[in-house]
Symmetry: C2
Subunit: 408 residues, 2 copies
Amino acid sequence: MSYKFIPNGTVTTPTGFKAAGAVGGVKPSNTTKRDIMMIASDTPCTAAGVFTQNLVKSSAVLLTKKHLENGTAQAVIANSGNANTCNADGMEKAEKMATLAATNLDIDPDDVIVASTGVIGQVLPIEPFEKAVPEIASAMSENGGSDAAEAIMTTDTVKKEAAVSVELSNKVITIGAIAKGSGMIHINMGTMLSFAATDAAISAEMLKSALEEAVDVSYNMVSVDGDTSTNDTLTIMANGAAGNEIITTRNADYAAFTEGLTALFKKMAKMLAADGEGATKLIVCRVNGAKTKSDAKGAAKAVICSSLVKAMIFGADANFGRVLCALGYSGCDIDISKVDVAFSSVSGRVEVCSNGAGIEFSEELAKKVLLEKEITIEVELNDGDGAAEGYGCDLTYDYVKINGDYRT
Amino acid sequence: MSYKFIPNGTVTTPTGFKAAGAVGGVKPSNTTKRDIMMIASDTPCTAAGVFTQNLVKSSAVLLTKKHLENGTAQAVIANSGNANTCNADGMEKAEKMATLAATNLDIDPDDVIVASTGVIGQVLPIEPFEKAVPEIASAMSENGGSDAAEAIMTTDTVKKEAAVSVELSNKVITIGAIAKGSGMIHINMGTMLSFAATDAAISAEMLKSALEEAVDVSYNMVSVDGDTSTNDTLTIMANGAAGNEIITTRNADYAAFTEGLTALFKKMAKMLAADGEGATKLIVCRVNGAKTKSDAKGAAKAVICSSLVKAMIFGADANFGRVLCALGYSGCDIDISKVDVAFSSVSGRVEVCSNGAGIEFSEELAKKVLLEKEITIEVELNDGDGAAEGYGCDLTYDYVKINGDYRT
């Protein structure tokens, strides 16, 4: 393991990145929370991104994809409070965001990553940006990562930010990231907004490859509610300020970089799941012994996506039949008669199912295990060596409350 | 239209069917609600069934599939309170249920349809059946359909039963059905327990064909929570007591029979959705103008399955972006820029989206429309003539409450 987490790390922890956020009032009712932010590198970066697979895409997503085609970027501008999706003038507004950022940061508009999150189908007002962007540009700071993390929060209750340092062959490099959840989150896409930055020197091609490897086992294994957002955007910029020998092939440095990036994204993914809308618990489903890696991933996803499993964890009820039920409809190649299931947490571990049939267990211990904040559902398929982890959260009254009247 | 609904119709409305239910105490805590029932025909029937596609299957499902291989059956025995799934001795218990029914009804055990619903992974006690089945056999009555409907209820709050009469070329025949919901219900299978009976004369092959046609647009278009049950069973028995000319080809009588069966199942499907766990509202998503019928079905399913759409309907909030979002991830071939969306109910109709973009609408009217008990989400894709309807329900605090501690 060649990486370690940096205490209080964020997206501006890597050398040469600055950020700031401001209260723009994108949603007129918001007059106190930061809702527009920028992140910028002192110098041009190689860059890569992954985006929603929803056919409905925010204009911000369409523009950013275009801007990243050449593998370079230098700044991010993002807002919460309005998704800039399903609007007649969305592309015009996204381009205006890029131009405002570029003008105030004195960079090329094509090097600006644009992202929006919030209500779908309402016209994005541009006045808040005209007012806030100059203010943000002059406040850009190496300590601004947290303010940027705040500015992209919607129903999130905590800021999501972290950073790792990674020892490459000749240098230590740093990767930082911020992200926002916390509803309309589902597997199989860049899930949510997240912006990462690194001072490593790495070619655009290798950066894209490392990003995709890391996403596959982290953000793409999170589900809050099974709804694929229209605005999912995850980008990374690498400015090379660490002075390492530039990574241009899949060498040992590439492997170390990707390992660190994966660890960072897994941590962020767990933060997203744990702060899912209304969530009180993080659910990790660890699947081992699958015929293939793909079967393991499918099985883990089915379990963490099941409304019945999620409600059962909320109620701390060891109703393991629901786990088997989800495995059974996962579409994966599973021999149910070989399946073992256990629940574990910091309070212990309880085996509840062996060879596909229920076994006697202590309800008292099960209750104790399931009352903790982070629950692992261990699924052993005893049928190969495919393994995977999925990240989800419980389904609670508050999820319903938050989403029953989201627009006001 | 050659069918009409019969007031207070149930599974014993067709000539020659009897039923009864009793309090068996399958779940020891139950001492008041009927939980074991039988339905029987005076004479042997042609029969057909569709079953869960979950890899995890109740022993009752496995046994019933075997019993229906020859296309004949004469009785149903079913219980609530225990799913007889994921138990070491499940098949033995299912066979014992069939034998008890057959002995007491004086029929062939191979002609018994067996079904169970309730908690997964707990051993099924056979004593309640030994006690209740003789009692039920002696109580069998032509008015017993409603008691049978009660006996299969779990978290259902209302009994689901209905019947239609259908004019064939030379006779009027009757089809009746009962069903239970109301959680772990999802598209793409026989969804839930439902037992239908008809006095029509129809070959086993044509009965199976009519059943599959009807299921495809009714029960298979219902979702409560996205979880595919392990016990889904839908069967139909036809005893020919109406004296019609037996249906052995896809003639006009077959078409009329299938039309009536489809109407019956659509009505039952809506009853299931409206009484989904915790539900306060029925959501119908009607999709028109799809490129293909399959795209229309996929689009309707995505909308009624979306947790965010479900929560929005609970909150009577016209956040139509969530409908577009669900269409976008449905996997169907949709040109989002052509999509129109409207909400309607007995209180009116409000158009909220045109050509894939939000339009101005009266929030007051939208609120009025969405506060009703049955909401239709109208989706016009303007891209062909594929049409479909999906049936779902809102997501509420009570769904979470019911499923947070289901076993007690």
